[in-house]
């Protein structure tokens, strides 16, 4: 059963990947190493709300207890701004989970292939209470950051 789920997830990943357009600002395949997959969990320390790509910094606690700051590449902030997401929508301290691949230069940078909260919800997606930016219109929204 577990295998089947994994296969389904892999398939859905491929199907979604097939819709990724062939042109973009730069080739992710040239920047990140397919042989260095990783999954990172930790609190956000900073969001660089910059062009051409947003970079989210998070602090990851390693197995030996040391901490490493990783930078994760997202898309352009322009799109998020139009959707009402601002740099205050992902506050420092918010724990996120990122899966992706490490940069080919082996610095602590990775692509944010999938960025979620620890319970799997996508950042910035869904309705109120599921990570969408708060605009104050939904009284059921939690008052603390996700």
């Amino acid at each position: 059963m577990r295998t089947k789920i994994a296969v389904i997830l892999a398939c859905s990943g491929l199907c979604l990947a097939a819709t990724v357009p062939v042109v973009a600002h730069h080739a992710f395949g040239a920047e990140f190493d397919p042989n260095l997959p990783l999954i990172l969990t930790g609190p956000v320390t900073k969001v660089e709300w910059v062009n051409p790509h947003t970079w989210i910094h998070l602090e990851v606690t390693n197995e030996d207890g040391t901490k490493t700051t990783w930078m994760v590449e997202g898309g352009t902030p322009n799109t998020l701004l139009r959707r009402g997401v601002t740099k205050n929508s992902l506050l420092p301290g918010t724990v996120i989970v990122v899966d992706g691949y490490q940069s080919k230069d082996r610095s602590n940078r990775a692509n944010g292939r999938d960025i979620t909260f620890p319970d799997g919800r996508k950042l910035f997606m869904g309705s109120s209470g599921t990570g969408a930016p708060r605009d104050g219109s939904d009284k059921t929204e939690p008052s603390t950051s996700n």
Binding site: L9, A10, S12, G13, L16, A17, A18, V20, P21, V22, V23, A24, H25, H26, A27, F28, G29, A30, D33, P34, N35, P37, L38, I39, E48, V50, N51, P52, H53, T54, W55, E73, G74, G75, T76, N78, T79, L80, L81, V97, D99, G100, Y101, K104, D105, R106, R109, G112, R113, D114, I115, T116, P118, D119, G120, R121, K122, L123, M125, G126
Partner: protein
């Protein structure tokens, strides 16, 4: 049986035709905003994102039009994909597979980023009340004409040094220039010199995100600000092109009015800027305000060194109340440094392995 199916289809087709709302007549010229000199006022901000592709999917053949149901189905499928990609992931997921996740295109085997960063539009477009299968209307199959032999050879020659980073420093063995030897060898988009995907054109085409344009119009000039990499096209009205030695990244654009349509003629392209590199590219664009909220953008592209025939497309530019944000691409273009440093690390590893270290 075949007859019955055909009859049923005919009835359905008739029903679709009858159910389709009457085509709205284009606004009469008097209804559109005008500048003090009497020409249509094209100024404003437009979001040109559309789900309708530039080139027609082959299953539609020479059919330029979609039924309303087909258009709705495309929109529903796009929205379903968005919903699906917005669903929660496995909270206990592991790292993606070693060796790559199979992504193609720009995502090159490592994936890109979540779909909330992407803005390709929410709907298909219609012109004169009819939905379209493609932006390209000529040739009849809705696709760019095949490349000429000369263009194919040129494209092959360009592709050789652009061989991808496969994880092996193959350029150390082939000698000569490698694709990551310096920033000048990287694509214009990656270097933040021009937006990718003909977003500034001409012709100006929809891309993955940042599809907003702002037009500023004066009697002497029309400026088109393109959000991606804030490319600004300056159109000189009632002017002439400079001599052919003068080459520009976005070409040299001159304009004039034909009735209520702004015609923009662009030549003198630089080979540095045009993908496929040709100085014989010639683009004619036609901007027509059809109502206070919509422009129709038409374009014809000809370049005898690339295509045996010209190709023409059209799509609407709906006005938007969104803001055009600065896209200061050089602000934090870490990717370029990462790519070049990644190649240096790979070279060092390869040389170390070769020397037995």
């Amino acid at each position: 049986m075949a007859y019955r199916i055909a009859t049923t289809l005919s009835v359905l087709l008739l029903a679709v035709v009858c159910l389709t709302p009457a085509v709205a007549a284009p606004a009469v010229a008097a209804d559109i905003p005008r500048t003090s000199d009497g020409h249509p006022d094209l100024s404003g901000t437009y979001d040109v994102a559309t789900l309708t592709p530039l080139q027609r999917p082959s299953q539609f053949g020479d059919n330029l039009y979609l039924t309303r149901e087909e258009a709705q189905a495309i929109e529903d499928a796009a929205h379903a994909r968005t919903r699906s990609s917005s669903e929660a992931s496995d909270p206990n997921r592991e790292a993606p597979p070693e060796g790559g996740d199979g992504s193609a295109g720009a995502a090159g085997n490592v994936g890109g980023y979540n779909s909330f960063w992407i803005d390709r539009g929410d709907d298909t477009f219609e012109i004169d009340g009819k939905f379209r299968t493609s932006i390209i209307v000529d040739p009849a199959n809705g696709r760019r004409p095949p490349l000429t032999e000369e263009a194919r050879e040129r494209s092959q020659a360009r592709r050789r040094p652009r061989r991808a980073n496969t994880g092996e420093a193959w350029w150390l063995e082939t000698g000569g220039q490698g694709p990551y030897d310096d920033p000048e060898l990287r694509p214009n988009g990656e270097r933040c010199l021009l937006g990718f995907g003909s977003t500034a054109g001409p012709p100006m085409l929809p891309v993955l995100y940042n599809n907003v344009k702002t037009i500023v119009q004066t009697p002497d000039h029309v400026m088109i600000l393109v959000e991606m990499v804030h490319d600004a096209r300056i159109v000189r009205m009632n002017s002439e092109h400079p001599s052919s030695e003068i080459r520009k990244w976005l070409g040299d654009s001159i304009g004039w009015w034909e009735g209520d349509t702004l015609v923009v003629d662009t030549t003198n392209f630089s080979t540095k800027a045009v993908r496929g590199g040709s100085e014989t590219l010639h683009v004619v664009e036609r901007f027509t305000r059809v109502d206070k909220d919509t422009l129709t953008y038409e374009f014809t592209v000809e370049d005898p060194s690339r295509w045996a025939t010209s190709w023409t497309g059209e799509y609407p530019w709906p006005a938007t109340d969104t803001r055009l944000y600065e896209y200061a691409c050089h602000e934090a273009n870490y990717a370029l440094g990462n790519i070049l440093r990644g190649a240096r690390v790979l070279e060092a590893d390869t040389l170390d392995a070769g020397s037995g270290n």
